[in-house]
Symmetry: D3
Subunit: 292 residues, 6 copies
């Protein structure tokens, strides 16, 4: 990632990029297992400074690429356990991970490890979908259920959870009400159209407070015009400037980790979406570096 060397000695790292080539939780179009590889490949076009925010993360922290988590491509539950154990190791070393997905299922084992390390965490969740289904095809663990499970397992501080960008057709007309009932702030995409999200993020920061916060950025939160390479695109999404405002709006928050998920290279052979994801991952790193 960003031409960084692979570094598996976690004691040498304050933060790291981690790839999770996992798409076993996908209901429809597979392909995100190749996400980490394509994001890394496109990231060679990035340079080390953030000119907009003047952040210089590599000067403030020791950052490396931890490589890919070796998932079992034939067994969803086994893979989830492998991911969970890997993040336990990363967090035990006080290294803050920026994850490159993979489908959204992977946020569940990451949040489990986050909870073990930090207790209940706040969450900023950018996505087209709420991902709070009870089951998919009768299964409890899938890319449409992780935040339901996270609530049930007590991993989240529900009053400090914000979902941004939700939209599209649904299995019921009340699809976002469950989250609201848990205490989530749910910001539908329609509320974001045609405007800067800086005012929104002021409120979000107030809500998040000083506790640990995790950022989960599903690339399909953005509009397909910007991010065609994903498995479940939904029209009417956020713009890239809005996506950047969300991340940059977390400046000052205690960000303990983040991810960019659901990048699916087969649907974007020229890598537009992967380049976008690489930039978003870098922006997340910039925020993390503030507290380093």
């Amino acid at each position: 990632m960003m031409r960084l060397p692979v570094e598996t000695d976690l004691s040498k790292l304050d933060a790291c990029f981690v790839g999770v080539p996992f798409d076993l939780g996908t209901s429809n179009r597979t392909g995100t297992r190749a996400g980490p590889r394509q994001i890394r490949s496109e990231s060679v076009m990035l340079r080390p400074y953030n000119v907009a925010t003047r952040a210089a993360p590599f000067e403030r922290m020791r950052v490396g690429d931890y490589g890919d988590i070796p998932i079992n491509p034939y067994n969803l539950l086994d893979s989830i356990a492998i991911i969970e154990a890997a993040y336990d190791r990363i967090l035990a070393a006080d290294c803050r991970p920026v994850t490159l997905g993979g489908d959204h299922t992977i946020v569940l084992p990451i949040l489990r490890a986050m909870h073990r390390k930090h207790g209940k965490v706040g969450l900023v969740h950018v996505d087209a979908h709420a991902d709070v289904n009870d089951t998919m095809f009768g299964e409890k663990i899938a890319h449409g259920t992780p935040f339901r499970r996270a609530v049930e397992e007590g991993l989240l501080d529900c009053d400090r959870v914000v979902q941004i960008g939700l939209r599209g057709t649904g299995y019921s007309a009340e699809e976002y009400d469950w989250g609201r009932a848990q205490g989530f702030q749910v910001v539908q995409a329609e509320e974001c159209w045609h405007r800067s999200l800086q005012p929104l993020m002021q409120g979000v920061k107030a809500r998040l407070g000083d506790g640990p916060v995790y950022l989960s950025f599903d690339i399909d939160g953005l509009d397909p015009a910007y991010a065609p390479g994903t498995g479940t695109p939904e029209i009417g999404g956020l713009t890239v400037p809005q996506g950047l405002e969300i991340i940059r709006g977390l400046s000052g928050v205690n960000l303990v980790g983040g991810d960019v998920v659901e990048v699916s290279p087969p649907f974007d052979p020229f890598g537009t979406t992967a380049l976008l994801a690489a930039n978003l991952a870098f922006e997340i790193l910039c925020i993390i570096s503030e507290s380093a």
Copy 2:
């Protein structure tokens, strides 16, 4: 469409999707005859509820897919007659059609049938082009002339006609003045840039009043960044949120039918545009279902 069964018994339907695989009226790049097939194929990703508006059209109405109109691919005028007869049948059964095009020529026979059923109709026309040429290559019937013909044939209530999104280069600098002279409200794309169209649609609704209204949505009204799969793309177009605001802004209007036309699959192999069109067609259905 949307995994609905094909249903040709119109007495069982309050509304229907209809495909018109016709591109004989195209001046430049053909391909829209494959539009209905690709839109249906992408529509399998849609779910039955509109979470933004909480519409549940399939609970309010009996909806089916009427299949494709069997046009004659070698004869434009013969095909126009076939389309006209088919819509006469559909409307005679009090079934409201949501049409999947096909090039924009097809709106002429549809409007003829609409007029026969409802008398003069109001029109909301989203498009990059005014489509009011007198002739193209010397011919009266083509995808750039349907609204000129519709006015001449007395199908439209011209004071209740709105054209939104017009732009681009033209054959004369005064290309939109003809429509204005007929009484049309012409909203050029430039007037829409950087803003919500909700205020505009308030005025449009007032203009449309209580009479029957038809919605014709040319996908090239939207910007090529969102809808690359079309034959005559024009830069500087509407955004998808604006397109949705136009359709949703018709809530309360007596919408007697609608179409999404000019989707050209060969120029969009990954189906981005067709998925967008499928969503727009569903949104039109949601509005129609209000009055069911």
Copy 3:
């Protein structure tokens, strides 16, 4: 270009399109040498009037396509000299050139010729990158250095230079400060998000005054959603409406020439970016025609 005949007798032309199939100054992904060919190919879809501004350039001026400059594909410096000599000839004939690139290096020889003809010129520079590096890979002449060289060579009236759209990661956090120190107005992309650029352009026009102005439009100034076909895309860019507002906002300025550069066809097989560039070049011509 726009189905115009090739015309090499400059005495018959008030303005011309010129192709510069040059990509030897490119650091990363080559391909812009095919830009002129693809832009011309897509431009067949353009019509001769600007309906938005009611400009009719072909009625006001004699316009032709001067063809391509015969660069030496194996020698950067030799090619630069060939380009410079060609523009000396064009300008000597009082013909105003609208250039189709090619990478951004070509603006240096063009500005040299402009300076020889007009003295110091003002500059409107739309781009994701400042292009004011001192060297690239140790070389002075490359697509990231032309405006540094132009300042050093005294070609620009630095108080009348505006850069719009700059953004992305950089080699230092202060990457845009050099230009500001020269007197440039630097407008970062973030300042443009979510808004019309008409107010900005009011100020820009005041700054530019009555003197000669050159417009250099790097297609990567626009967001990759609109312009994927370029070598160094950066997320978070200008929208096409903003790009049009910049050009149209120069109405009344003494525009002595302009270019659209960095269109790279291999990364955009369907020609979306080239069609956009063709439109931008036409819009530049419309502004030039005002003073003809």
Copy 4:
């Protein structure tokens, strides 16, 4: 498939097309779960007669499309059981299945059902890979192991097994010797280059004799020039004429079923590979129809 209606009443069918949208056994690039959908979509271009062989399968048999097997996308072993049960039902009705994959794992449950119905079967296996690994990532059931399992479970009459088209790099230099040790005839791709396979197929038919035979056709047995849409392409493969010679060369054999697997639409947006697969499935049906 081939515009056939879906027919789930097996008593009305002598043969059927079956889709198995399963890619959970894939080690590298997923995507074959969309194979059945794209193959059906492309098959609309097929007509009902085989002009080369003068076969008329729809006149000789009752053929329908049985639709897709409803696999569980989150659980490999559960899906295998679902597939196996479905084929038990199909075969119990004396209906001969032509299967559209899906990855190659699915041949294991199909062969189990075949064995239950017919006893040990002969096998013609066209593929780039032997698919006789003991395990993949430690798992026994995956797309590289089905024929190892089939041998271990006693499903195959090993002296009547032929593998054609094997090639590529391997995990050991002796990768094909295991099959030979079981009695398989292994025909490496190199033996097929530059020649007709009609002589080969004479020998194969003699070997297969009168007993029941299953044909499993992995599309990657063909060269990537013909079949780019697959997850594990290998250079130097069979040509399409050779592939047709293999299928047509089974004329007279007691073919009890067949499949075309490993078609991966994301890697072939224009559907070249799916159209090829649709043709191969039709050719298999033609052979099956001989004994109907």
Copy 5:
């Protein structure tokens, strides 16, 4: 074409390239109207000598590009008349045309003009399809009927007609027998597999004798691996070497004209098929130049 200037003064030409941007006779996937433009665009990579045959057509003849025939895109029959009149003019000037299609319907008006000039002509017809249907969708003139019409109108010397490359599925099992009954030599693709066509062409030349011969080369005669950009691809086709052997095998024949048809750019964005077609058109020109 091949960077030749457009030349409409037929008296200056011994042979010419002609574009016919017509696809109104297409039953399924339109797009061939853009064929001439893409073939010309790709032909810039060709050089003027045939190194294999040492032919130098531009030294032996005056060759130009006659441009495109201005068809009426809304009226099939009117366009056919326009084409016929144009070829009458070309042939009246003793100029031998090499036509760039367009769909295969266009060969009918060309053959009518050929017959008017030369009397009955021999024909070499390379294609996947016999194109001898009586009607398509009830129409007599379409891209699947031209040779039926040509026989009925007495344009062909049926004993000097050869069809090569026929294959695929059909509407009846006896689809090629009609042609044979007229006296055609029909060479199915299967007869061509794995071998040089030089021996075949020896016999073809003997059959053609000294009379005038027309060559009609449908690009779908070649396999989709070589020519994906066409509307009705069929697997198992001829190879490019075989295609070249057919054309070069006509050396010594009195070739009065030829065409390359059914190139459909939307299905081949990188222009592979158009480059192939440009080469075939050049090879046809080389044969024509022998008798100049």
Copy 6:
């Protein structure tokens, strides 16, 4: 490459892969500078054993990836010098290089280094083009001239030079005669059609004898159906089996190095050509390993 670690300590290597991201010698379509990166990316699908030949190069030799040569992207001659110096270092360490190009110009500095190390070398040159032009655009060093220069500089043992696969249009009808006059064996593509090249390679091996031999494999020697991702495709090329027969046919030859050049990723977004090139590079390594 092939997941090998980068190893820059040449003393640890008997053979190495080397990338040369250079396309400054390209006359037409640039893009090959990205070749090494895409070839490495696709090579992750390769496994370490050659099942066809049972070669096990990693067991016989120490092999590493030496990384990319740091060329100067703005200066052709400077880059040539950098490449030459790098190969001097590689060869001085008795390490045999397998080079991933890059355009064909790079073979000149490689041959210079080879000559310095080994004296005059024999050459097997697979290509569509002879690459023996005297100049291109007036320049001596370009991708169409390297073998002319190599002969002039006395680097080659001309009686032990074989060119295979030459074809296409040319600047003169006698384009291949210069090489023949130097003593080269020139095998035009037409001589290769429809047949195994094993007999040819018997003769080639006899000609090459025991002296040092270099293999230069331009991917455009193969047909565009197999290798679309290249800048100057020519129809009628070699098949992949023939390409493999050429390389494998060098078994027993004293192969001192080899390259695969002219892979241009922009023209092959799915990486088909790069995967092919990765396999060819591996096959070259297998031959080199015989003499290790």
